[in-house]
Subunit: 417 residues, 2 copies
């Protein structure tokens, strides 16, 4: 199957395709006539088919050689499917509870077949907009992040394996470049892609572009993003890349995966939770209706960070005899040295996490890709008010990020914005 | 020529070899009988032949598949010659005044033919031990560093070229691993390779291994060394990798070259100048005889840093329209933003430079490879006194490195140690 040339599938062609891939045909059972196929891709980039057969179901995801929501004018490498499949498999190896299993990958066709995350799984962002509480979310996502980030870093790998893995991930450069552009650059300049709630936020956007202190901080974070090959990142870990039920949490869509700074993944998730928080007033039927929910969101962010830090240290504590080349046991394996090493490491992730979170909040308000949490607030004044709070808060987080001594202080800032 | 298998040359075989490489035979002129060949490799790793013919001269450097000074028991990849040749060529492209031209490279034979740096060129370290002043040194070496580091970074390159170059350099992983081991790890543990002036420094070595604060700082720098693909480094820029005359400065031997943090190269040079400084009292025929020379060394370090900072900014100022993806003009090209960007960037290099310099000083006193500056002090008590000052100073530099506000403060510390 791997010598086929790329062509874009529709429902009918997808059916034909799966008929010829034994592992898929067998999983579905019956014959192509029995298969229900539905395109559900709500993302900006790719086609996603849900396929159900008499015996089983699956999801078929195919990349397009351009950005779906823009059209053929914005070309986009098909290679991202390769990196997505590779990351899904590595994440599944490290944290199987939180990742759909990959059944099949076709490189030239840019097709991934994976487990269908059946209802009631929904995209976390939609659950947050609906005001649904997910009691296991913090525990699960922190578990996913700590395991995938720790075990792909030099804390767990030797130099050979770590350098080789990061050198291989470089080839996802197109996607890295896209992130650089839309996260770290365009929000701070005039760019055709940018949009914002106008005219309400016009002065805010102007102030952002003139905020030199902020822009220089952003440049430092961009350099870390481009240069720090610390661990295998998901690369796009917002609340639209997580599917949830009350008891299950699954991370999908790592097509931006590459070796980068751990804090980028953690910051992406936190940023989108904060955006969800700031959007709640726009969704509350009446004043105060979402107050308990807002508390839950902030508690969840607090838990995500605390649990991430604790679980990451937990992985580390279990790994002092691992081949990880960063902190060799002969030098660091005493109680005091371990404690200080772990504390400093986590503090470093914390500060960068806040910086990346701030970048991610800002770009979702003034850049190309917004979040449904805000966009679904129909009243522009109401929306602008929510967005302004988020933007103001992000700027403070960015500039003060080295001064917070705990996540609680950050949460307090967000709560009282 | 590129299909030959590796075999180690001696003088006679080298002559035969060059006879069969037209570009080399022509450069030398005459016939093999007319060629004078002399092995001069004083390094730990490779064979270096100086070859003089009727028409011209050259240096032939061949790597061995093991560490020369240890023997076949310590295997070492021949691939380092490839990275050395590649780095020499890139450096020659960017800063031709300071790099010997490569005439010829034979990959399977791990042979580099390059310009012979004729007398009175000598290894800088030997000049420093002899107490010779090099009035152009600071200007030259800062020029070399600013040009090579700036133009291989994301300040000058676009993301595609930068990521590709750094991914390719990953394959010099054997040499990176060696640096990790001997610079960042073994000095802080019991290791068969370590040696120091004993018993004089025994308590100092013990204290070093118990200095948790210091070791955790070292771990952070090691992480930067392993993970930060900022620019193409020389990778071994000590005073034994620089050849000088009163008017000329040439950098040789970049076999450790890889994409790493800029500060590592600058720190390597500074560290070795500080070691030269601290060794002077061991070389002074009588008390105070080297006082002027010590002043010159410190002035040179001060100039190296100030000129590096100024020249680096100079390259940057000329490059605001370059394809460098780090600071796009549309975001940063205003006088105030440029000034703040450059200032912050240089401050960041400064702090890491001090950290790497401290690591390099420490490892040369208690690790596997010492410096002739100290080793040539025959009196062990005298030598230990010099080494202790250097070691003590390095520890302070490491721990205080975020607090110095200028190179002058660092120099004052060194002077009054
Ligand atoms: N394994 C899956 N199970 C169920 N639904 C999925 C699965 N993968 C994707 N989807 C649905 O398809 C949508 C788009 O998938 P995603 O991988 O995020 O594509 P894109 O890269 O285009 O954003 C998701 O928001 C989700 O609704
Ligand atoms: N191009 C050159 N011209 C003159 N002498 C050289 C040249 N290259 C090397 N040498 C001499 O050979 C010695 C070892 O060379 P070097 O490249 O440092 O080898 P190694 O990698 O073994 O340290 C140098 O210290 C210097 O004395
Ligand atoms: Mg998606
Ligand atoms: Mg996607
Ligand atoms: Mg370990
Ligand atoms: Mg050498
Ligand atoms: Mg060498």
């Amino acid at each position: 199957q791997h010598t086929r040339h790329y062509h874009k599938l529709d429902e009918k062609a997808a059916s034909e395709y799966m008929k010829n891939v034994p592992v898929l045909a067998e999983k579905l059972g019956g014959s192509p006539d029995d298969w229900e196929i539905q395109e559900v891709g709500d993302g900006n980039m790719n086609y996603v088919y849900i396929v159900e057969g008499p015996r089983g179901s699956l999801v078929l995801k195919q990349a397009l050689p351009y950005v779906r929501c823009v059209g053929e004018s914005w070309a986009m490498t098909l290679e991202r499917a390769y990196f997505e499949a590779k990351a899904l498999r590595k994440e599944f190896e490290l944290a199987p509870e939180y990742v759909p299993e990959v059944y099949y990958f076709d490189h030239p066709m840019a097709i991934i077949a994976m487990r269908y995350l059946e209802p009631p799984h929904i995209i976390l962002r939609k659950g947050l907009i609906a005001g649904t509480v997910y009691p296991r979310l913090a525990e699960h996502i922190s578990d996913f992040m700590s395991k995938t980030l720790f075990h792909t870093s030099l804390l767990a790998l030797d130099t050979h394996r770590h350098k080789e893995a990061s050198a291989q991930s470089y080839a996802n450069v197109e996607m890295c470049r896209l992130s650089e552009q839309v996260i770290f650059t365009e929000p701070y300049m005039e760019a055709a892609n940018n949009r914002w709630t106008s005219p309400q936020l016009d002065p805010d956007v102007r102030a952002l572009r003139e905020d030199i202190e902020l822009k220089v901080e952003v440049a430092e974070l961009k350099a870390r993003f481009c240069e720090r090959t610390q661990a295998l990142l998901h690369g796009d870990l917002h609340t639209g890349s997580v599917m949830v039920t009350e008891t299950s949490t699954k991370v999908i869509d790592p097509e931006f995966s590459f070796y980068g700074p751990m804090a980028f993944d953690v910051g992406a998730f936190v940023a989108n939770m904060f955006l969800a928080f700031f959007s709640q007033d726009g969704h509350a039927g009446m004043q105060g209706a979402r107050d308990d929910y807002k508390k839950w969101i902030l508690q969840t962010v607090s838990d995500v960070w605390s649990l991430f830090a604790a679980k990451f240290k937990g992985e580390w504590d279990k790994s002092w005899d691992s081949p990880g080349d960063a902190y060799l046991p002969a030098v660091y394996n005493t109680p005091a040295a371990r404690t200080l090493s772990e504390m400093r490491f986590i503090e470093d992730v914390f500060v960068d996490m806040l910086g990346f979170a701030a970048c991610k909040m800002i770009r979702r308000i003034v850049g190309i890709a917004h979040v449904e949490d805000m966009d679904s607030i129909a009243d522009a004044d109401k929306r602008a008010a929510c967005e302004r709070k988020a933007l103001t808060c992000a700027k403070v987080i960015m500039k003060q990020r080295r001064k917070f001594s705990s996540i609680t202080q950050v949460i307090d800032l967000v709560r009282h914005q």
